[in-house]
C-alpha cells in the first residue's frame, strides 16, 4: 500500500529543504571568503572584508535583474500579451486560481510554439506575469490547464523568483570570489602578505589556509552550482504541492505531467539561461539521464509519483517509468 501524505507535509518538507540548502551555500560563502581573505592578508579583518566585497558586487549585479528581469525573460521567449477577449477560458482558469490564492491577476502572455510549456515570472504577486505555449493550450483540458497554471502561480506566491535570485547572488558571489582569488594567485605568484605580528606559527597557518583556499576555490563553482540545481528541484516540488493546495485536485496536474511525458517537441526559444523558469525543463531532451544532478527540474516520473502519494495511489510501475523517461 502506497504511503499517503498531505500537501501541507509536502510543502513543509520542501521549504525546509530549500532553507537548509541555502544555509549550506551561505556557510560555504562565509568559509571560502574567510579563508581567501585570511590567505591573502593574514588577518581576520581581511577575511571579513573579502566576504563583504564579494556579496556587495554580486548583490548590485542582481539588483537590475530583480526589477527588469521579467521583461527581459518575456522578450527572450517571444511571449506576446493576450487579451481576455482572445483567450476567455485561459483568463477564467487563471482568475479562479487567483481567487483561491488571494492574489491579484498576473499579466497573461502566449508563446507561439508547438512544444508544451509554461512559465511565470515576477518579483511578487503584485508584479507578475504568466506565459503559456499554444502547444500546451491546444492539448490540455480545463483541469489539466488549471493544474499547470496553479504550479506557475505558486512559483509567484511562494516568491520563488525572489528566492532563486537570492541563491543566484550567493552562488555568483562564490564564483566571483573564487575566480578573483585564483587569478590573483596565478598572476601575482601568490602574493601572500603577512600581518604585522608575523612569526613562524602564523606563517605556517597562513600557508595551510592558502592551500585549502585554492582547493575550495577550484571546487566552489561546481559545488555551489549543484546546490543551486538541488534548490531549484525542491522549489519545483513545492510548486507542485502548492498547486494541489489551490486546486484540491492532484489528478489534473498528474494528467498534465503524463501528457508532457509523451511530448517529443523541443521548444524553439528555450535556452539554458531561462530553463529553470519553465514548468517542464525545455532542454530535457538533450539530457541523457533524466535523473541527473545537473537538471533544474525533477524527473517527470518522480513528480507524478509524489502526486499519486497525495491520493494514496501506488507509484507508477518501473517499466512505465522507463518509457516515460525515454519519451521525455
Amino acid at each position: 500500500m502506497a504511503a499517503s501524505t498531505t500537501f501541507y507535509d509536502e510543502k513543509a518538507a520542501n521549504q525546509r529543504n530549500s532553507v537548509l540548502l541555502v544555509l549550506l551555500v551561505v556557510l560555504f560563502l562565509g568559509l571560502l571568503g574567510g579563508l581567501i581573505g585570511y590567505a591573502l592578508t593574514g588577518s581576520r579583518a581581511g577575511a571579513i572584508g573579502a566576504i563583504v566585497i564579494a556579496v556587495a558586487i554580486g548583490g548590485l549585479s542582481s539588483f537590475g535583474s530583480y526589477f527588469l528581469g521579467d521583461k527581459l525573460v518575456l522578450a527572450a521567449s517571444s511571449a506576446k500579451p493576450v487579451s481576455e477577449e482572445q483567450a476567455p477560458q485561459l483568463y477564467n482558469v487563471i482568475r479562479e486560481l487567483t481567487i483561491a490564492a488571494g492574489i491579484p491577476m498576473p499579466a497573461v502572455y502566449v508563446i507561439q510554439d508547438n512544444a508544451m510549456n509554461a512559465f511565470a515570472t515576477g518579483r511578487d504577486p503584485g508584479h507578475s506575469s504568466v506565459a503559456i505555449t499554444t502547444g500546451l493550450l491546444n492539448v490540455m483540458n480545463r483541469e489539466e490547464l488549471q493544474g499547470v497554471l496553479g504550479h506557475e502561480l505558486s512559483h509567484v506566491r511562494n516568491f520563488d523568483i525572489r528566492f532563486s535570485l537570492m541563491v543566484g547572488v550567493l552562488v555568483g558571489s562564490i564564483a566571483l570570489l573564487s575566480s578573483f582569488f585564483l587569478r590573483y594567485t596565478f598572476w601575482f605568484g601568490g602574493g601572500r602578505r603577512s600581518s604585522n605580528n608575523d612569526n613562524n606559527g602564523g606563517g605556517a597557518l597562513q600557508l595551510i589556509v592558502f592551500v585549502v583556499a585554492i582547493i575550495l576555490a577550484i571546487l566552489a563553482p561546481i559545488f555551489t552550482r549543484l546546490v543551486q540545481l538541488a534548490v531549484s528541484r525542491q522549489r519545483e516540488y513545492l510548486a507542485d504541492a502548492s498547486s494541489v493546495e489551490l486546486t484540491r485536485n492532484p489528478h489534473g496536474l498528474e494528467s498534465a505531467l503524463a501528457k508532457l511525458a509523451g511530448d517529443t517537441t523541443v521548444m524553439k526559444e528555450a535556452n539554458p539561461a531561462t530553463q529553470h523558469l519553465y514548468f517542464h525543463n525545455p532542454l530535457m531532451k538533450l539530457n541523457a539521464n533524466p535523473s541527473s544532478l545537473f537538471s533544474t527540474h525533477p524527473p517527470l516520473v518522480d513528480r507524478i509519483n509524489r502526486l499519486r502519494q497525495l491520493t494514496g495511489e501506488a507509484p507508477l510501475p518501473p517499466d512505465a517509468a522507463s518509457s516515460i523517461g525515454a519519451a521525455s
Binding site: Q89, N92, R95, E96, L97, I99, A100, G102, R142, R248
Partner: protein, 188 residues
C-alpha cells in the same frame, strides 16, 4: 543608571514589542477572514447577474422548453431574495436549487445541436462554469484564511494574548445539510 534598571527597561521594551507584534498579526489575519467572507457574496452576485443573459440567449431557440427557463428565472429570484434576508441555511438551499435548474437547462441544451454550437451559448456556458468554480474557490479561500487565523490564536505564544485581547475562533464554511444534497437535474 544601574544595570538592574537597564535590564528592566530592555525586558519591558521586549514584552511591549511582543504584544504589539502579536496583536497586529492577529488583527491582520482576522481582517483577511472578513474580506474572504464578503468575496463569496461577490461571486454569488456575479452568477445572479449572468443568468438573465443566458435565459435571453436560449429563449429564441427553445420554444418547447419554456418550463425549464421559467424554473431558472424563478430559482434565481429566490436566491436573490434569500441572499438579501435569509439565514445562511436558507441561502445555501436557494443557491443549491439554482445550481440544479442551471444544470437541467444545460442538459436540455444538449438536445439542440444548433443551440449547442451557438457561440453565445458556449461563451455563457464557460462563464457559468467559471462562476461556479469561483464560488467554490472563494469558499475554499475563506476556509484557508479561517484556518490561518484559528491557528494563529491557538499556537504558543500568541495563545497567551488572544483571549485577553478579544480574539475568538471563527467558523469554517461548511455546506449545510440541504446544500450537501446533489442538485437535481430535472429534464421535465
Amino acid at each position: 543608571m544601574s544595570a538592574t534598571l537597564i535590564i528592566l527597561i530592555i525586558v519591558i521594551v521586549v514584552v511591549v514589542g511582543f504584544v504589539v507584534l502579536t496583536y497586529n498579526g492577529l488583527v491582520q489575519r482576522r481582517l483577511r477572514v472578513d474580506e474572504a467572507f464578503s468575496q463569496i457574496s461577490v461571486q454569488l452576485k456575479r452568477r445572479w447577474d449572468l443568468i438573465p443573459n443566458l435565459v435571453n440567449a436560449v429563449k429564441g431557440y427553445m420554444d418547447f422548453e419554456k418550463d425549464v427557463l421559467t424554473k431558472v428565472t424563478d430559482a434565481r429570484a429566490n436566491a436573490v431574495a434569500a441572499g438579501a434576508q435569509g439565514s445562511p441555511a436558507a441561502q445555501a438551499t436557494a443557491e443549491n436549487a439554482l445550481t440544479g435548474t442551471l444544470r437541467s437547462l444545460f442538459a436540455v441544451v444538449e438536445n439542440y445541436p444548433t443551440l449547442k454550437a451557438n457561440e453565445n451559448v458556449l461563451s455563457l456556458q464557460e462563464q457559468l462554469t467559471t462562476t461556479e468554480n469561483q464560488i467554490g474557490f472563494a469558499r475554499q479561500h475563506y476556509n484557508a484564511t479561517v484556518l490561518d487565523f484559528n491557528t494563529g490564536i491557538a499556537t504558543f505564544p500568541a495563545v497567551l494574548l488572544a483571549g485577553p485581547l478579544g480574539f475568538t475562533k471563527r467558523e469554517f464554511f461548511e455546506a449545510e445539510p440541504e446544500a450537501q444534497a446533489v442538485p437535481q437535474v430535472n429534464l421535465g
